[in-house]
């Protein structure tokens, strides 16, 4: 579904991504981990067209994404969330959903009143139906993250990029969030998840890719990667890992 071939990206001489290659198959839930500053979010930004890659190619369902605008990439069937939840604070929860429908999904626009009930269903599924008419800025952090996630579903994306979906959450909230993502995966959605909470990642992902200093240092099954010496060294330092 997604093929990233030797993608590199630098910022004023600082290499953020170095020959990164990654393939994600339909229906896979892939974890993308790595220490802070390892290039995880930059990779998401390059995939979604916010930054062009200096070198390399990105293909999605056989279509070359390089050179496309972010909105064109989104129209191919990608959606993403952000490390700090990005919601429309001055709008209500439901207006956030309506904007998502208006912005990117011609299908939803054509559905008319059916689309309205679909938005209500989505809000109900993520437990935000009771807050539909509240201003989004008044939501708690977990609610904001839930809104951000459910909003991506409005356009019915084929691939969802989740950037630290449980960032700043308590263990109980993290568990709820994991359940929500597991439900998405069970419905056959393909996801790439950036997360520092290894328990969450290992419970959700069959496969993990590890970045360090912009380079892929491990890519394999969750069990294998979490035992990989290079990964332990990246996280714990050479002495602790040894």
């Amino acid at each position: 579904m997604l093929q990233i071939d030797s993608v590199s990206r630098s910022f004023a001489g600082v290499v953020a991504l170095r020959d990164v290659s990654l393939t994600v198959a339909q229906g896979e839930v892939v974890g993308l981990i790595g220490p802070n500053g390892s290039g995880k979010t930059t990779l998401f930004n390059v995939i979604t067209g916010l930054f062009p890659a200096d070198h390399g190619r990105i293909r999605f369902n056989g279509r070359e994404l390089s050179g496309l605008r972010p909105d064109q990439i989104v129209a191919c069937g990608l959606a993403r969330t952000f490390q700090t939840p990005r919601i429309l604070h001055r709008m209500t929860v439901r207006e956030n959903m309506v904007c998502a429908a208006y912005a990117g999904s011609p299908l939803v626009q054509r559905l008319g009143s059916c689309a309205q009930s679909r938005l209500d269903d989505l809000l109900r599924e993520c437990g935000l139906d009771g807050r539909a008419h509240d201003l989004a800025k008044n939501l708690t952090l977990p609610e904001q993250r839930r809104l951000e996630l459910v909003r991506t579903l409005v356009a019915d994306p084929k691939l969802i990029l989740l950037d630290e979906p449980a960032g700043g959450m308590t263990p109980a909230e993290t568990k709820d969030k994991a359940t929500l993502i597991r439900d998405l995966a069970a419905k056959g959605r393909t996801c790439i998840i950036i997360e520092h909470k290894i328990d969450m990642i290992s419970s959700l992902c069959q496969r993990i890719c590890v970045l360090n200093f912009g380079k892929v240092i491990a890519d394999g099954t969750t069990v294998d990667v979490l035992r990989d010496e290079a990964v332990l060294e990246a996280y714990l330092g050479p002495q602790e890992a040894g």
Partner: protein, 311 residues
Amino acid sequence: MDDHLIQVLSNIGMITFIALSAYVLLLTGEISFGQQAFFAISAYASGIATAMWGWSFWLGLLWGAGVAGFAAFLLAWPTLRMRGLYFAIGTLAFAEMVRLIFEVFHYQIEIDGEMVGPNGSEGFRGIRYIFENNISEFQYMMIIYALLASVLVFLFAIERTRVGAIFRMLGEDELLAEMQGVNRTYYKVMATVIAGLIAGIGGALFAHMNTYVEPKIFNVMLGVHSLAYGLIGGLGTALGPLIGVSLDIGLLESTRMFTGYRMVVFGGLVAILLIFRPRGLLDEEAVHAIRSAWRRKTPSTRQQSEIDAPD
């Protein structure tokens, strides 16, 4: 109706057009100090059409607004890559450029032994269509408010559609809008053109009411005021700029309560509002509170009272 009152109300109506023009761009998150350029372009274009070419007022108004809309389209392209402060400076530079062009713009023809037409910094006198056709000041005021009501209805309608939602989305978080599939360029150009057209309607009305225009009228202060009106009245609804204009022209200028100190009071008012209500009196939160109260009062109108009604 008292002549002074008619004049004040007419001024409020005409200036509201330029305030609404700045408001449309504010919705998309852009600050323009240059909406007076489209006001000026239309004032001259419509004046030329009626006073020199013998067109009817309505045709002249359409022509003026159209030329202003086209100028806005031309401005949109080079300024598209600019954001925030750079966009604001770009629009200011454009407006000053337009004003300076009118300072040296000479195009006059002889009509009934009198030279008529723009005469550089001397301005453009003799835009007398309204008086030659016996349209009273009261009737003209009614024309202004009929057009203003039409523009407000248009803006209310837009706010309930996809375009309005996307404008507000761009205004709140451009990056998020793009990441949800919004073509930023397309909608920013659309907003700039709509803003140009609205300012253009105001400009044409202004020229015909005053019978003459001169470049210095369209200076940067007109642009600053048009921007401030939206920020005072509020960005939550298209009524916000009307409230802002009414407060300034209706209260501060016309009552002469603060003679000599009007700008001090106006500046102070802007500063206080920017501190306590940075998005104006009728900001999104106030509009939401009004809507919620309305929804509680009349639950049956719930679906109709929201911007998210089906298309």
